[in-house]
């Protein structure tokens, strides 16, 4: 039997993780330093090394799935294309004025992010389309030509076009697009009607501009990667992870790179989703904690929860999601991730009011935590975990870095325990709990803030530090089950293997549900579905492999926020509209705890279609049982660990994952190559068939 391999590649700022999964369940993993000057190089070199170690070759690779930060880095570092923007006269500054709001109160030093298109590269055309779509002032082709010429004379590398109310009538935008394509056939063009045919000029302009801004960058990167793979004799096709958790072909990503901007963190959530489906878990909360940040998301009934917009470079939540205005607004569906600035490197300190605080400042990788012994003097969360005995005091998992536990303890004693007047273990435990409580805010923002009770969910933890905190966080939240997947430190790359091809389409379509013209509604939805089907067919998904899922955003007439509900298959008739009204009312009640009376008019706000390209029976067709090829290290001896003032220090067993084939009661520490998992007293750990650690109480 020939074994085909599917490859997941996740690029982070420091490491590039590569996971190969064979159709027989064999796993090979590789972690190498990212090649920051040219990310494609590390991928090709990493694969070549794997081939050398395993005897595999490019011909054994069936498909490469890739999560990349190339596009988001271009935005964060302002290294995108020199972009020109054409917009309606009178509205030249929509992009720069933004929404006026800033993300921090009382901050005189606040600086707005620089617009991605400088004012002089923003040109206007004298035209006007009304909210109804009627042309009020026709676009003069000579005017449009003059503005395009002016931008070409400025040697722009991409052009974005966004005119007022183009979602209702794209004629003028299309005229400008044709002019650009005629005058500069190779120049990337991003047209708002094609990118985001939805109402709200700032959101649409910003999204269209971001797309244009990264188009040449992503195209260049994908060309380089393809070339490298070809030279390494890897003919397999390349699929990119999108911010929404679905895959798209590299061709589609080149056209609409706005969809792959938050590609990085999506892989782990999608992997968690696949697991929730296979184990029939109705709800899971994912918790991904690394060195500097922690992220949470939810999967309900097998579906990842998505947000309709987010800010690129918006940074971590500052306590609340109410404060917007940071970063660059991108209105494309994305996995709804809440992020807080808490990681292993977060600093532990005492504020002027005498309160113990964690982060948001981080020791980073240099000098790093005190225990790294590289000059760091400020205690960190990782130092707390060392003092508590959770992390092996001799060396970092994998044995690569020697640790100095005495230094960590001394720093805690001096900088935290003494000023607070408590013993050092208590201080370190407090730091551990407060870090957990900060991260709980991320979990609350994806659960309780949306009317979901975390106790109905399982906590799915990964990332280098996730398994250290998961059990304690679950306890605080009243949750009763924690799941730790195999290779938790590599899980973002692993998760890529579980994704399906997915394309999202939406369109503003404001109609009162009781006054909607059914023919018109059906035509609009059918048009989006056709678009989705055509895209899937171009990628080789037809018949049963191409699945269309519809949804609708609704609100009570007069509200300014909406909620999305699924739309059943079949033609839209009166009965279905009544069904949608009721579904909206129920979702409103569920999310906010109240709903209006049934006579309150409901408005359809936008219609949405997702096209799914499904192969090998969905979930990416990943085999249920996987077989890691890396041997486990020997289990270290038991060591004392501290679990709070009630229990104090306990001599705690340290085990390997495979030892949990025999279920065991906490306290327990599971040491692995890429992560350490803490099982608290009162909890019980076991292994399931897929080698997930299941911790329950």
């Amino acid at each position: 039997m020939t074994v085909n391999y599917r490859v997941g590649v996740d690029i982070g700022g420091t490491f590039t993780d590569i996971v190969l999964l064979g159709s027989d369940g064999t796993i090979h993993t590789k972690k190498i330093s990212s090649s920051v000057d040219n990310y494609a190089r590390a991928i090709v070199e990493g694969l070549t090394e794997v081939f050398a170690e395993t005897g595999l070759s490019g011909a054994d690779i069936e498909e490469i799935r890739h999560g990349t930060t190339v596009a988001s880095n271009a935005i964060l570092e302002h290294k995108g294309a020199r972009t020109g923007l054409i917009t309606t006269a009178g509205f030249r500054d929509v992009l720069e004025i933004r929404t006026l709001r800033m993300p921090r109160l009382y901050d005189i030093a606040w600086e707005k992010p620089e617009p991605l298109v400088e004012r002089r590269l923003r040109r206007v055309v004298d035209e006007r389309i009304a909210a109804s779509g009627a042309v009020e002032r026709a676009l003069d082709p000579a005017d449009a030509e003059a503005q395009v010429d002016a931008l070409l004379a400025e040697k722009v590398e991409a052009i974005a076009v966004c005119l007022l109310h183009s979602y209702a009538n794209p004629a003028h935008e299309q005229m400008i697009a044709e002019i650009v394509r005629r005058k500069a056939p190779d120049l990337p063009v991003s047209i708002s009607f094609e990118v985001l045919p939805e109402i709200k000029e700032y959101e649409r302009t910003s999204t269209t501009v971001i797309n244009a801004y990264v188009m040449p960058i992503v195209a260049r990167y994908l060309r380089a990667l393809r070339g490298g793979l070809d030279r390494a004799d890897v003919p397999a096709r390349l699929l990119l992870m999108q911010s929404n958790g679905g895959l798209m072909t590299s061709e589609a990503a080149t056209e609409k790179p706005m969809n792959i901007i938050e590609s990085g963190p999506a892989g782990g959530v999608v992997g968690a989703q696949a697991l929730a489906r296979s184990k029939n878990l109705p709800g899971i909360i994912t918790f991904d904690m690394g060195g500097t940040t922690a992220k949470a998301a939810t999967v309900e009934n097998g579906q990842v929860t998505r947000a309709s917009e987010y800010s690129v470079g918006g940074g971590i939540m500052i306590g609340s999601r109410l404060l917007t205005g940071a970063g660059y607004l991108l209105k494309v569906p994305a996995i709804d991730l809440a992020e807080v600035g808490a990681g292993g490197g977060s600093l532990v300190w005492i504020d002027a009011g005498g309160s113990l605080q964690i982060g948001p400042e981080s020791a980073g990788s240099t000098p790093g935590p005190v225990c790294y012994d590289k000059g760091g003097e400020a205690p960190t969360v990782t130092d707390a975990n060392i003092v508590l005995g959770y992390i092996n005091p001799g060396y970092l998992v994998g044995g690569a870095v020697k640790l100095n536990a005495d230094k960590a303890r001394a720093a805690f004693e001096e900088k935290v325990a003494k000023p607070l007047g408590i013993e050092v273990a208590r201080a370190a435990h407090g730091a551990h709990l407060i870090a957990a409580s900060n991260m709980i805010r991320a979990i609350r923002s994806v659960s309780t803030e949306r009317g979901r009770d975390p106790r109905d969910f399982s906590l799915f933890a990964f990332g280098g530090n996730g398994p250290l905190f998961a059990c304690g966080m679950a306890e605080s939240l009243g949750m009763t089950r924690v799941v730790i997947p195999p290779s938790p430190g590599l899980f973002s790359a692993f998760g890529l293997l579980y994704a399906d091809v997915e394309h999202h389409y939406s369109r503003t379509f404001r109609r009162l549900t009781r006054k909607a013209d059914l023919d018109e509604v059906n035509r609009a939805w059918d048009a989006l579905a056709t678009q989705a089907r055509d895209q899937l067919a171009a990628e080789g998904f037809t018949g049963a492999d191409a699945k269309i899922v519809r949804s609708a955003a609704l609100h009570y007439h007069g509200q300014s926020f909406d909620l999305t509900v699924p739309v059943p298959d079949g033609p839209v008739d009166d009965a279905m509209l009544r069904h949608l009204e009721e579904a909206y009312g129920q979702e409103h009640e569920r999310t906010y705890g109240h709903r209006a009376g049934t006579d309150e008019p409901v408005e359809l706000v936008s219609i949405q279609v997702v096209g799914l390209g499904i192969r090998l029976g969905g979930g990416g067709g990943v085999p249920e049982r996987v077989r890691p090829t890396r041997p486990e290290p020997d289990a270290p001896p038991p060591r004392p660990a501290y679990f709070g003032p009630q229990t104090g220090w306990i001599e705690t067993r340290v085990v390997r994952r495979s030892d949990l084939a025999e279920p065991a009661a906490g306290p327990l520490i599971v040491e692995e190559y890429d992560a350490t998992c803490v099982v608290l007293p009162g909890w019980r750990a076991s292994l399931d068939a897929a080698k997930n650690i299941i911790i329950e109480r």
Partner: protein
């Protein structure tokens, strides 16, 4: 026994209680009907202890910082001894704890086994509460009785049962009852969320410990505030500013005068010397005047101090009754937002005297309120309410921001496309205007204009703007910004309108508002010529103005600065303006020679 000094458990509790206040705020945000709430964030949520002391306030509107305690006091005065589980209280009366009539407060006492332990509090700006003008925010009302429905502290729910009398009175006295009750539902939902989560806290920590921690949360904020105040210099600083007029007595300026006295860990903000209350509807309640002071002072303190009673203990605010900062009956106050913004700017002016390298020059003066209301031909009402501001004063280290909300109200602009889809209004322009920002080593923020075309047969336009005769001041050599402007039909008759007005408009009329430009900071002749060139290339500054204000000569063919010619031009300006010392505050253009060069 409660272990009230456990620093770790306390930090965990504090995280939890502030996340409840924020979650209440999110609940309002997501379920509101009104753009004023969602986009302008003109609402607040909070959490008070059993005695009504504010323990935590959600992160929304700085302008509401003093509001909940004052309203709480009123509720306690009326109901402290007549309160039971399931009660909900409602009020908006500015002369009994409220701020202005559109701000309706909803409070819910929270109980544990029959013992009152806390209050959930919300306040929201409602789109309309009746009165003589749609939107209930006219600046030219001269007594509270014209401004709309005055709700004294009342029981909205009596032991869980809705008070239908209150509901009926509200319903018959507002123009858009569906929106008002939709937003009241949002307020109730926020209280409900608070109740649920507070019960979980009590279950975890026990009632005694929760009470002890609420006290400690307030003490903690006080310690942080006092520690930060201690690091500021001691002394006394005063600042004076003027509102152009109240829109009733046209041309009669209104004095704002503040004195900061900082000693040790205490700050006194004293408004004695501020003008008597005025006829127009811009009189503040004391609570709003306090919020202005807190906003200014907090902006020079480190971030991360929680919002509660503890902050207010360390920052004392005094304002004599009967002044524009503390109106008494029958003062009209619907449009008092203006005074709140300007008192904030006045506090910043005094702080700039105290901390010259930390505080900005004057911005555009806070938001301009524009509302357009009337009836469609089918007699259904429409009300469009827009508040807009956006130019920050220059800072001692950087230019003022272009297109950023005022510190007092972190609001967002409405989408133009949504406005046009929902109202009989078309916007013809929303863009920056060149040559309006005050010059300086760091220039003031660039203002924008908004042009509104009215599409219905007839409507009433109301405008509340200012900074027309008293321009945004520049600091330490920086020039003042250009005044705000209002026009009717700019491409036709182009009639200049006053800064505050209520008038009838008809189909096709175009109203243009240009914000005031913000003040500059530092000597304009010290500005980096490359920065001047950048503004000229971006058409935010004309070549003529670059020359007149900055002595920078730009060659617009090559887009370069003529260094030699600029050197000469700067020398000429320096000579002719004849400064012996750098002017600390500038209200008017101080360089006659520069004007002559234009």
């Amino acid at each position: 026994m409660a272990e009230s000094r456990d620093p770790i458990a306390f930090e965990l509790f504090k995280n939890a209680i502030f996340s409840i206040a924020d979650e209440m705020a999110l609940t309002v945000f997501r379920t509101t009907y009104s753009g004023v709430l969602k986009d302008n964030m003109d609402y607040s949520t909070g959490f008070a202890d059993a005695n009504g002391k504010l323990v935590a306030q959600g992160l929304t509107l700085p302008g509401h910082l003093g509001s909940i305690p004052t309203a709480m006091e009123s509720i306690m005065r009326h109901f402290a001894h007549d309160m039971r589980e399931g009660d909900v209280f409602i009020m908006n009366d500015p002369f009994d704890g409220g701020m202005h009539l559109p701000d309706i407060f909803v409070f819910k006492p929270l109980y544990h086994e029959g013992r009152r332990m806390a209050f959930a509090a919300t306040v929201c700006h409602h789109t309309d509460v009746g009165g003589r003008v749609a939107g209930s925010n006219a600046s030219d009302s001269t007594e509270i009785y014209a401004e709309g429905l005055r709700i004294p502290p009342l029981r909205f729910y009596d032991a869980g049962k809705r008070n239908e009398t209150v509901v009926a009175f509200i319903e018959k006295n507002v123009r858009l009852p569906v929106q008002v009750f939709g937003d009241l539902r949002a307020q109730l939902a926020a209280c409900h969320i608070a109740e649920k989560q507070f019960a979980e806290l009590v279950a975890r920590y026990g009632p005694d410990q929760v009470e002890a921690y609420m006290v400690e949360t307030v003490d903690y904020a006080e310690r942080l505030t006092r520690a930060a105040l201690s690091k500021l210099p001691d002394g006394q600083w005063s600042f004076e500013d003027w509102i152009d007029d109240d829109g009733v007595d046209y041309g009669k300026p209104i004095r704002l005068f503040v004195t900061l006295t900082k000693k040790g860990d205490h700050m006194l903000v004293d408004w004695t010397g501020t003008s008597p209350q005025v006829k127009g509807a811009i009189n503040n309640t004391l609570s709003f005047t306090k919020a202005a002071a807190y906003t200014g002072v907090r902006s020079v303190l480190p971030a991360g101090i929680p919002n509660n009673e503890g902050v207010f203990r360390a920052i004392e605010v005094v304002c004599p009754p009967g002044t524009v900062g503390n109106g008494v009956l029958p003062a009209a106050c619907a449009a008092r937002g203006l005074t709140g913004f300007r008192m904030t700017d006045c506090v910043f002016g005094a702080l700039a005297m105290m901390l010259p390298d930390k505080v900005y020059a004057a911005g555009d003066g806070g938001n301009t309120g524009i509302s357009i209301g009337g009836y469609y031909s089918n007699r259904k009402p429409f009300i469009y309410v827009d508040f807009t501001c956006g130019a920050w004063g220059a800072r001692p280290w950087a230019d003022g921001l272009d297109g950023n909300s005022h510190m007092f109200a972190n609001m967002a602009s409405h989408s133009i496309e949504v406005t046009e889809a929902e109202h009989p209004i078309q916007l013809l322009a929303y863009e920056f205007v060149a040559d309006k920002a005050g010059a300086g080593k760091f220039r003031g923020g660039v203002p924008f204009r908004r042009d509104y075309r009215f599409l219905e047969e007839e409507g009433v336009l109301q405008v509340r703007s200012d900074r027309r005769t008293h321009r945004p001041f520049g600091l330490y050599g920086g020039s003042p910004g250009q005044p705000s402007e209002n026009y009717l039909n700019p491409d036709g008759a182009n009639e200049t309108l006053p800064s505050k007005l209520t008038m009838t408009i008809r189909k096709g009329d175009v109203f243009r508002h240009v914000l005031a430009g913000a003040g500059g900071w530092g000597d304009p002749l010290e500005r980096d010529p490359a920065q001047v060139l950048k503004d000229v290339r971006n058409e935010l500054l004309s070549p003529a103005k670059a020359r007149a204000d900055y002595g920078v000569i730009v060659d617009t063919r090559t887009w370069t600065v003529d260094a030699g010619a600029s050197e000469l031009a700067r020398a000429e300006i320096r000579r002719s303006r004849g400064w012996t010392t750098t002017p600390v505050v500038q209200w008017t253009d101080a360089a006659p020679a520069a004007q002559a060069a234009e």
